[in-house]
């Protein structure tokens, strides 16, 4: 029997900084951040506040185990062991379940701090589109939160909603964005804001013979519009950065930029690691604060 294709499966990533040499690691401040979300988990290792290694993988059914797996993957072949890490901070939805973390910090604080590192100090507005919530944050040039807003009431505008939708459409989640532009004209967005209803609305469209790519476009544009209305409340100031898994979905982001009349900055790193980077940076700051006491 043919295995069922896992359309929702997105690409897991890992990276090591080739420019950091750890010979004589004594005296260096090695810190880590681990962001355990509902859909994905990331681990970041930093050396003296520089990005050294990271991993981004799917969260399993068990949070402590997911945190460990992400951390082990980030450390793989680096020559570092978890005991070399001076201070670790857990963040995200499952932050209390990071076994090796000394403390936890909310993901809002970590995302702002992480985006400041990844996209630079000019970032004023951060939109995080995560697995099951959406956060809009204003921050200052040091990545300190000035205003924030979080919407986690419903999964429609989230990564999890997109996974469910990819499965329903039978299209790989990595291709959804591009396919949504392969259409003759832009369809009106699906009207339902709830995943369950949006799903049945999309199924209905397919039954009526609407081409698949157009249904995908209608779904992406509904998601973009929902996020737009959320951003409206706090306003978007330049520079603008998007973090989280949906940042990789051009079907949503390009439509959002069109509504905002504004584009976001890009980063060479995986957009999903912002929270873990922020956590690792806070860890470094805490180590330094301890040292001063």
């Amino acid at each position: 029997m043919a295995e069922k294709k896992e359309y929702w499966r997105w690409l897991e990533t890992r990276w090591t900084n080739p420019d950091i040499d750890l010979d004589g690691k004594e005296g260096k401040i090695i810190t880590a951040g681990c962001d355990v979300g509902s859909v994905s988990s990331q681990a970041v290792v930093m050396v003296d506040g520089k990005l050294y290694a990271y991993s981004n993988m799917r969260t399993g059914s068990d949070s402590p185990d997911s945190a460990m797996r992400a951390m082990n993957w980030a450390l793989e072949d680096t020559g570092l062991a978890i005991d070399d890490v001076r201070y670790s901070i857990g963040t995200g939805y499952g932050r209390v379940n990071v076994p090796f973390a000394q403390r936890t910090i909310t993901e809002i604080a970590c995302h702002a701090r992480g985006a400041n590192f990844m996209y630079g100090p000019t970032v004023k507005t951060v939109l995080d589109m995560g697995g099951q919530d959406c956060k809009a944050i204003h921050c200052d040039e040091r990545g300190k939160v000035l205003t924030f807003l979080m919407n986690d009431k419903c999964a429609a505008g989230t990564g999890r909603g997109m996974e469910v939708f990819a499965d329903l459409m039978g299209v790989s989640i990595n291709e959804i964005g591009e396919l949504s532009f392969d259409i003759d004209e832009e369809p009106p967005p699906v009207t339902s804001t709830c995943v369950i209803f949006a799903k049945s609305e999309a199924t209905g469209m397919l039954k009526k013979g609407v081409p698949k790519n157009k249904v995908i476009a209608a779904y992406c544009s509904a998601m973009a519009h929902r996020i737009y209305t959320l951003l409206e409340r706090i306003g978007v100031e330049k520079d603008f950065a998007i973090t989280g898994g949906i940042a990789k979905n051009v079907g949503v982001t390009r439509r959002l930029f069109a509504e905002l009349g504004l584009e976001s900055l890009t980063s060479k790193y995986d957009t999903q690691i912002a929270g873990a980077i922020g956590a690792a940076l806070f860890a470094k700051a805490l180590v330094e604060r301890e040292a001063k006491k």
């Binding site: 924030f148 807003l149 979080m150 986690d152 804001t193 209305t229 700051a285």
Partner: protein, 108 residues
């Protein structure tokens, strides 16, 4: 920091905003709210903020439309919009009235 707690859904916008620069962590709002919407403790969004601040409790964040409706007898209280009446009445809400520095506002 302006911390917006609440949500926006198909029916409207329901946010309680705590201005953490004004909030002094006195805790007066906590017993003033009859439904346990507010709490005071370590600032969840700024790990380096030494003083305690007020926040909306986790359990209430997704249902303040209904919880706060008990304090908002005017007709638009479930419509999630700011009206002349809701603006005028805001100062009489137990939470807002209890807060001397004026750190708490509602969006509806």
């Amino acid at each position: 920091m302006r911390a917006n707690y609440g949500y926006k859904d198909g029916s409207g916008e329901y946010f309680i905003t705590i201005d953490t620069d004004k909030c002094n962590g006195c805790g007066d709002c906590v017993p003033a709210c009859p439904y346990g919407v507010l709490g005071v403790g370590e600032d969840p969004y700024d790990p380096f903020h030494e003083e305690p601040v007020a926040f909306v409790t986790e359990a209430q964040r997704k249902k303040i439309r209904y919880t706060c409706a008990s304090c908002k007898p005017y007709l638009t209280s479930l419509a999630g919009v700011q009206t002349e009446v809701s603006l005028r009445e805001m100062k009489n809400l137990p939470c807002v009235a209890a807060c001397k520095p004026g750190a708490i506002t509602h969006s509806w």
